[in-house]
């Protein structure tokens, strides 16, 4: 996978934008500068023409009524001009003014661009009126004078280019500085991210400490990431510790069961015994072994139920069974135990409902909850099983009349091997996995299981399962 650097991308974006705006700016400056320079150029042209106009003097003899007298007058290099009167008489000229310049009839001053021997010239055409000396005998004579004056425009372009160069260099330097500043700034802004990564790197299955660095928490954009990290870690740690506890509890349980089986057989073989002693010892050993087998079997059941099954997600082969029938079968199975404890089982099944559980698991669920209730029932009491269907879910409640559940146990009672006592005393029977298996079955089917105390006496287990239609 190609990796992308945010720093590089950010800086590149900013630089590209800056360069684009610089180009646009230079374009605008070019247009503006050219306009200004041309205006100034035209003013100079007009001024030069005016000074030439001022240099026209009355002639000394009669043949020349007007002469151009410009002693010491400095004209720019390569200047071309021609002064003539309305009769086409040339009063004065410098260089060869091209013929294609239109001498407009009106008195307006006009500007024209013309190429002269490969160079761009700008000409001004200026009209003026001179009145010859009125005291002369000839009388008042008015002469309309036309001045055509032009200079090369190259230097206008030169000025414009100079201005562009200045702006371009200044912009380039500015962009360079911005780039350096950006690198520093972005690095500084991203440093909390590095700190966060460093903290996260220190997490191992042994050390779960994760202290979100204050620098990361200060940044608004990083806060969701930090919070998500913390939450994910907390979840992982919880499940990791649950797993660890389960493994250790399972080991304890199995070791105890194995210790019993082993010591039973070793006791039997300590010395020669009578046939009766042997057969009694073997029967006891077999009982011990059965219990070990039961523990292993329940652990495997729990492991199977807690494993996410691919089959369960497929609609076509989703398991299904009638919850009512499962309850009836569980009651049937528990009947002898109930008779032994002199407990009456009262079953109330309202509407029948199909639930998305394998039939064997459903019976296991019902009988586990029922056995739990029976175990906690005093003699000559009753256990109530009730099933209702409300709003698309099947509700199963099992009530006993026992001593109820301690509040501190309520949270943990569904955890594997929890027996409400650190000793995990086995006197009450069972392996401590029954309710965990119930929880796993319910959660696998998308339902839930809860235990609460009744206001009267005893505990109530409530199972909610989605109804299948």
């Amino acid at each position: 996978m190609r990796s992308v650097s945010i720093t590089r991308r950010l800086i590149l974006t900013v630089l590209v934008l800056e360069i684009f705006s610089a180009i646009a700016l230079i374009g605008a400056i070019t247009v503006h500068e050219r306009h200004l320079e041309l205006k100034a150029f035209d003013a100079t042209l007009r001024g030069s023409a005016d000074s030439i106009m001022g240099a026209i003097q009355d002639g000394v003899n009669d043949t020349e009524d007007l002469v151009l007298d410009m002693p010491g007058m400095q004209l720019p290099k390569d200047t071309l001009f021609r002064v003539e009167d309305e009769r086409g008489k040339i009063i004065g000229s410098v260089g060869q003014v091209p013929e294609q310049i239109a001498l407009s009839a009106t008195n307006a001053t006009t500007f024209q661009n013309v190429q002269v021997s490969g160079r761009n010239y700008r000409f001004v055409v200026r009209h003026g009126i001179r009145i010859l000396d009125p005291s002369e005998a000839r009388g008042e004579v008015r002469r309309t004078i036309t001045i055509v004056y032009g200079t090369p425009v190259d230097h206008v372009w030169h000025e414009v280019l100079e201005a562009i160069r200045f702006f371009a260099i200044a912009t380039a330097i500015l962009i360079g500085l911005t780039a350096l500043l950006m690198v520093w700034l972005v690095r500084r802004c991203l440093s909390p991210l590095h700190e966060l990564a460093l903290q996260a790197e220190g997490i191992t299955p042994k050390t779960w400490q994760f202290e979100s660095p204050a620098s990361a928490m200060e940044i608004l954009e990083l806060q969701p990431l930090v919070r998500a990290l913390e939450a994910a870690l907390a979840r992982l740690q919880r499940s990791f510790e649950q797993q660890k506890r389960f493994t250790s509890d399972a080991a304890h349980e199995l070791k105890t069961d194995v210790a019993i089986v082993k010591s039973s057989l070793q006791l039997l073989s300590m010395r020669k015994r009578t046939v009766e002693e042997y057969s009694r010892g073997l029967a006891l050993g077999l009982d011990d072994f059965t219990r070990l087998e039961m523990t292993v079997q329940k652990m495997l059941t729990l492991a199977r139920l807690e494993q996410p099954s691919e089959l369960a997600t497929r609609e076509a082969i989703q398991p299904s069974c009638s919850l009512g029938e499962a309850i009836e079968e569980a009651v049937h199975q528990s009947r002898s135990f109930a008779d032994l404890k002199e407990v009456t089982i009262v079953v109330q099944i309202g509407t029948r409902a199909q639930v998305p559980i394998d039939r064997r698991d459903a019976v296991l669920l019902c009988s586990n909850v029922l056995l739990n209730a029976l175990q906690h029932s005093p003699p000559r009491s009753s256990v109530h099983i009730e099933m209702k269907v409300t709003g698309g879910s099947a509700n199963l409640t099992v009530r006993d009349e026992g001593e109820g559940i301690r509040n501190e146990d309520r949270l943990y009672v569904f955890e594997p091997f929890y027996r409400g006592d650190i000793s995990r005393s086995r006197k009450s029977g069972g392996t401590g996995l029954g309710l965990s298996i119930c929880k796993a079955i319910c959660e696998r089917a998308g339902g839930s299981i809860e235990i609460s105390n009744l206001t009267t006496a005893g505990a109530q287990v409530t199972i909610t399962l989605p109804e299948q239609r």
Binding site: T256, Q266, L267, R271, D421, S423, R426, K427
Partner: protein
């Protein structure tokens, strides 16, 4: 010898108690921490087998309370926990030995016997007093090369006395250490057994070994040599 087994696991306790009784040790059993603590503090036991996970009061607490009362009864701990830390913790808390489940019953018995021996200042299973040799593993007694045929109770009385030589052992102490609570406490029983034992020890050419002092008890008279 009398041992207390504090273990809540019914079947495991039955097996340990059965095995100990078969090797001629009197056994009492407590099924929870509180009862175990109470019995242990009577100071009549030569060793205690203690499970760690107990209802009522944890094994660690039973052990700590016992040591706080300055009772030095050797304690062997049964543990199903993994990890070295808990082992170190246990030994530091005053346990003398530990066996992890699932254990070997024979090993457990040998360790209990070794604990009892060591607590009484003996390190080998063969004890000798004067010309009497007692093998506590094979449970045989020899005097001057002659094997003596003792009943289990007689053997246990001799074994207890041989562990406490030159000291007067009262009838009450003998009763406490030889019988568990299931037995009938009758001092006459002890008297009968001691007189039988004295008769059996009476080998030709040997001096009487057991001295009786009225109201004080019995004493193994010769100095003890440990081989």
């Amino acid at each position: 010898m009398r041992v207390l087994v504090i273990e809540d696991e019914e079947r495991l306790a039955e097996n340990i108690v059965g095995a100990l009784r078969e090797t001629g040790i009197a056994v009492d059993r407590a099924a929870d921490g509180e009862a175990g603590s109470y019995l242990a503090e009577q100071d009549v036991y030569d060793a205690i087998v203690l499970d760690l996970m107990l209802p009522g009061k944890s094994g660690q607490k039973v052990l700590r309370d016992l040591r706080r009362r300055r009772l030095h009864t050797p304690v062997l701990v049964l543990t199903a926990q993994e990890g070295k830390e808990s082992t170190v913790e246990l030994l530091n808390a005053g346990a003398d030995d530990y066996v992890s489940k699932p254990f070997d019953l024979g090993e457990l018995l040998a360790r209990i016997k070794a604990l009892i021996r060591r607590a009484k200042g003996v390190s080998t299973p063969v004890l000798t007093v004067s010309d009497v040799e007692l093998n506590s593993v094979l449970q045989t007694v020899n005097r001057r090369g002659n094997s003596l045929n003792l009943s289990p109770t007689e053997y246990r009385i001799l074994e207890y006395l041989i562990h406490r030589p030159s000291v007067f052992v009262s009838k009450r102490e003998l009763l406490e250490h030889l019988y568990d609570f299931d037995w009938d406490h009758h001092s006459n029983v002890i008297e009968a057994h001691v007189s039988n034992l004295r008769r059996k020890l009476n080998v030709e050419g040997a001096e009487p070994l057991i001295e009786t002092l009225r109201h004080r008890g019995y004493r193994l008279c010769a100095e003890r040599n440990v081989v």
